[in-house]
Symmetry: C2
Subunit: 678 residues, 2 copies
């Protein structure tokens, strides 16, 4: 008991000292959750600080990421490669201790948190990944996938709508190995939460099929540890443990006030807090005995060693499964992927089908989901519209007893009905990707990328391979009208740093888009796909599609022998318009090159030589895309055929005409540009 108190106080001291030193940060939450952390990290968490990549470790998510000093303290104290100097450099440039925990920067940080509500939703993804991998890979007597996902969260996470989506799906999926500890301190930034947060949280979670352990004293390590033990026994429900805590616990004047949340306590209050806690050590000084109590290296190594033995036995009994599990957790694609990708693209080219690009996506997915068991699809209640399902991806279903249902062939579900929860889907996909073992993809209408936008951004910031299938792009969606017609979305997705965006024109480009998205280990991708049919764009060479833009058609293709006088750049459904305009202009002896640019983000990474080859200097460029025109000026365009207002409700063909998306208008725009250039 004395040990537990010292262990918790070490966190409190490090948190307040680091925030003070940085002169910025959040001391209150780490101080309030310190005892919960002792209970979890000191008594239950299965992890190996010397190998943060151990496949079967428990996952820990700090959903209230502003409490980052709690996590940094725990990683430092338990033995991760996070020296004290890093804690002293809290919130400084290029330290391993940024203001909010960032995956990829700090060993042991499983996901980047800070944007509230997303951490707990990532955690649902982690827990789902574990459940699915266990169902797929474990065998009688060989539980090689068998770990928990723990999440700490605060009232901020619970107020965010996305938490409702996460909680609802965790309940529906009966994620019994997901254990959430709620830091119930009754304070948010604006003060005592009562006027704006009256949720009966236990009742709310029970309404979504959770097991709830209510009214635990969050400062009683034994009580919290016992609750976690009880939660681990849950066979068919995720568990919420409501820990009643005091924000800034230990600080005589700041505890239980909003003032403890987001600023340093100040030198004087820190002294008072040291005295109140009986913590007599200098700033950043931790007694050896406390280090010893926290040290999890030996236990972690033993736990991993024990697992390694078990995995060896599994490998002996099921060598192929062991190989596959290792491969998938490493994020490596199977060896035959490259060939499958080539075959899929070539087949598309050979068939030259006229289909919607959402259908082209499904055709590509048929091949890729057959070849890649790690592909885990889904849709936010638009499966039949997004066409995200394939013959290889049965729907995920959960048995009443909590087990993952299997098909008659023994297959585990690989297509997820996320319900109408776009943001939740995106953040769960981030969790699935972070856990490892899966390449998640999920669909909705492009317009509703707005709903999930910050989770798409988080995938890019975390460099995670998550694939968004956004169908029904632009006014081609037709009668559903402006609420459903994406206008600014293609352009605004391209502005998210680190996100690849593809808007393919036909079956071959769509297959390439998928293959590049799957190959890019460190990038999320958004595929923007049409509702309406698109003719195949004849092409002589498939090799350059993957560079994001390529010369699709030269003047010679329309019978002109001269060099191009202008370039039409088009994407997706507008490539056919560009080709038609090229024909119209050829009749007037105007020679035009058509460049198909399915991925501006990919093309932008090309070398200057290739860029100049595709878009030669000295002749005008005209961009054609059914979206806001502003984006296209970056390519030095002389004119843009775009749409800068909202769409309308009408059949697609009527709208194309209404908004000027006709070959005639594109040709006229080229002519006008040429005239201005003279």
């Amino acid at each position: 008991m004395a040990n537990s108190q010292q262990m918790a106080n070490a966190i409190r001291a490090l948190a307040m000292d680091a925030v003070q030193q940085a002169n910025s940060g959040h001391p209150g939450a780490p101080m309030g959750m310190a005892d919960m952390a002792v209970a979890l990290w000191g008594r239950h968490l299965k992890h190996n600080p010397t190998n943060p990549q151990w496949m079967d470790r428990d996952r820990f998510v700090l959903s209230n990421g502003h409490a980052s000093m709690l996590l940094y303290s725990l990683l430092h104290l338990t033995g991760y490669d996070l020296p004290l100097q890093e804690l002293k450099n809290f919130r400084q440039l290029h330290s391993k201790t940024p203001g909010h925990p960032e995956h990829g920067i700090t060993p042991g940080v499983e996901t980047t948190t800070g944007p509230l509500g997303q951490g707990v939703t990532n955690a649902v993804g982690f827990a789902l990944a574990e459940k699915l991998l266990a169902a797929e890979f474990n065998r009688e007597g060989h539980a090689v996938v068998d770990h928990h996902t723990y999440v700490f969260l605060g009232d901020g996470c619970l107020m965010e709508g996305i938490s409702h989506e996460a909680v609802a799906l965790a309940g529906a999926w009966k994620l019994n190995k997901l254990i959430a500890l709620y830091d119930d301190n009754g304070i948010s930034i604006d003060g005592q939460v009562a006027p704006w947060f009256i949720d009966n949280t236990p009742q709310r979670f029970m309404a979504c099929g959770w097991n709830v352990i209510d009214a635990v004293d969050g400062h009683d390590v034994e009580a919290v540890a016992a609750a976690i033990g009880q939660a681990k026994a849950s066979a068919d429900k995720p568990t919420l443990i409501v820990c009643k805590t005091v924000i800034g616990k230990g600080s005589p004047n700041r505890a239980n006030t909003a003032k403890a949340h987001g600023e340093p306590l100040g030198a004087e209050e820190i002294n008072l807090t040291r005295a109140a806690l009986g913590w007599t050590h200098e700033p950043f000084a931790i007694p050896e005995s406390v280090y010893a109590d926290w040290d999890a290296k030996a236990a972690g190594q033993a736990a991993e060693a024990e697992w390694t033995l078990r995995f060896a036995a599994y490998e002996a009994a099921y060598p192929e499964l062991a190989f596959e599990l290792s491969r998938r957790m490493a994020g490596d694609l199977p060896k035959h992927f490259a060939q499958v990708a080539v075959d899929t693209v070539v087949a598309a080219h050979t068939k030259a089908e006229t289909v919607a690009s959402r259908k082209a996506s499904q055709i590509a997915l048929e091949a890729f989901t057959a070849a890649l068991p790690e592909l885990l699809g889904g849709s936010a209640d638009l499966t039949g519209s997004n066409l995200t399902n394939t013959k290889s991806t049965p729907a995920l279903r959960i048995e009443p007893n909590g087990a993952v249902a299997k098909t008659e062939a023994g297959q585990v579900g690989r297509h997820i009905n996320y319900g109408v929860r776009e943001f939740g889907m995106a953040a769960i996909m981030n969790g699935l990707a972070l856990h490892g073992g899966f390449i998640p993809y999920g669909g909705t209408f492009l317009t509703f990328s707005d709903y999930s936008r910050n989770a798409i951004r988080m995938a890019a910031l975390m460099k995670q391979r998550v694939i968004h299938v956004f169908t029904h792009d632009s006014i081609g969606l037709g009668e559903d009208g402006p609420t459903h017609q994406s206008i600014e979305h293609a352009a605004s997705l391209r502005l998210i740093p680190g996100l690849d965006v593809w808007r393919p024109a036909d079956t071959a480009e769509t297959a390439v888009a998928w293959s590049v998205a799957l190959s890019n280990r460190d990038k999320p991708t958004a595929l923007l796909l049409s509702r309406q049919n698109l003719p195949y764009a004849p092409k002589s060479d498939l090799g350059d599609i993957s560079r994001g833009a390529y010369i699709l058609s030269e003047p010679a293709a329309v019978g002109l022998k001269k060099k191009a006088q202008a370039v039409i750049i088009a994407t997706g459904s507008e490539v056919q318009l560009a080709l038609a305009a090229q024909q119209l202009l050829a009749a007037k002896k105007i020679a035009v090159r058509v460049v198909s640019m399915p991925s501006t983000t990919t093309f932008d990474r090309e070398d200057t030589k290739y860029k100049q080859l595709v878009l030669p200097a000295g002749i005008p460029r005209i961009a054609v895309e059914m979206g806001v025109s502003d984006f296209w000026w970056k390519y030095g365009c002389a004119a843009v055929v775009g749409i800068d207002t909202y769409g309308e409700s009408a059949p697609a063909g009527v709208l194309f005409k209404h908004f000027g998306f006709t070959a005639e208008n594109v040709a006229d725009t080229v002519l006008a540009a040429l005239q201005r250039a003279r």
Copy 2:
């Protein structure tokens, strides 16, 4: 009873006929909710079809907007100016019957719905507006504001996270005049919802302080009508009525299937449905007796006439209140607004203070909230950071009995603690604006505009005066790191059609931004504000700020007599950098003009002459903004000093240097551009 059935069947027939004629649309939901509609619109709804603008009408929101034919049928049948021909033109270009209901297109449509979850959240805004106006304007014996807000919603709305935010706030605010009818049909697009939607919805709503009337037969008009009557008696809680329904009710083969949701029934099934319903009339033919049963014109006129009498009595007793209420509901600013605006801007200019632009915003708000009682502020739990509160805006608080608390001076709350619910806040603000009587504004960090993005878009689509206060822009936010640093947000908000975006540089520009935002009746505005202090940018003239961009400093200001050789365009916090670079370049005899461009969207609406005056042809333009550079090429820039990666966690000053936001780098960039131009 027989009448009720015919009334409901008229809706069913119109819905299936119109969808069939359009060959696109959603028949299932209107057919399933037809009886609920009879109960509400036939028995309870207080409205006047001959005056859809009647101030004290009940508000009706169809949150499951894909059921638009339900609403169009009701508007047509009850006597709104929506002739049968419009129903026959369902989903056609420029009809009054677009695919989803659009406010401003169709009389009687209170809000645009379709993006799920937002309608019910708008409804919370409507109900809050009513409650606040009633508290402010009603007097003993004079209940001139006294109406209900009704909302129909489906399981799609309930799965969306935003519904949780809306439900939680409606409970906290004890919106007893909000009555939601849930179309509980157990089907969503992907099929029977059980595998992905296990919420115990009544329990969930009760957990948020709602009154729930469960298990009402949604096809029993009397039962639904009785439940509504019961709900209207609620004194201190909003009410959810759970109506058990059958999607596509009446269709022998499609009812209770997902197939009824989003496609025409087909001629054959329509015939079968007609037979099953005993509806023998031709397509679009409604018997006179059914029209007569539905006709609400006389009752509506009588209701309004009775209210008009009451309002006259109120006006006699409280002429000033009556004038103010009428003015506010009309959306007119008070006469003295123009003078207040001028005074505020001039005062800012005279004081020339160095403050953060979020503080400049609060300074402007002090004046505007004092002058405009319709300004209703708020923050998503960041009040002290967003600085959205002023001396004139006490916090909204609700008494245990459900009444709106008043200050000692008798004032009603005017600043809302929305909790950590950005999307909910934005959609509630849309509802407040649509109701009338308020100009809502609300704050969060700019990065979290991602969370509310689709509601911002909806405000723009609906042309509503809603003001978003987005503070802590870009890397100036400092140590909180990349999750909290907006990089792509300024640019991507500018892409939303119809949204005005301001990123002011100092106190005067901030005051102008506020005054323009308040004056723009038909536009939402986003104000992007700094965390860090910004020096006042000296200026000779204030008149052109409102044009969105203006010449801030000519070469003469730095002692050069020649004409500008280049233009630096800067926004917000980077204007000071541009001015410093201008100085550095002057030392090298390079003459540079500095253009401050606080609002690109506003500037883009200027005439060509002014544009050319500010940005003259023939000299290079260099843009400076701490955001993605892509956006700036539209102004024909030769170079952009921007940031195209995520930020870092470090003090702001360190980051500015790290990312090249120094006067030296700006000056060097100008020099390089001039060299290239030679």
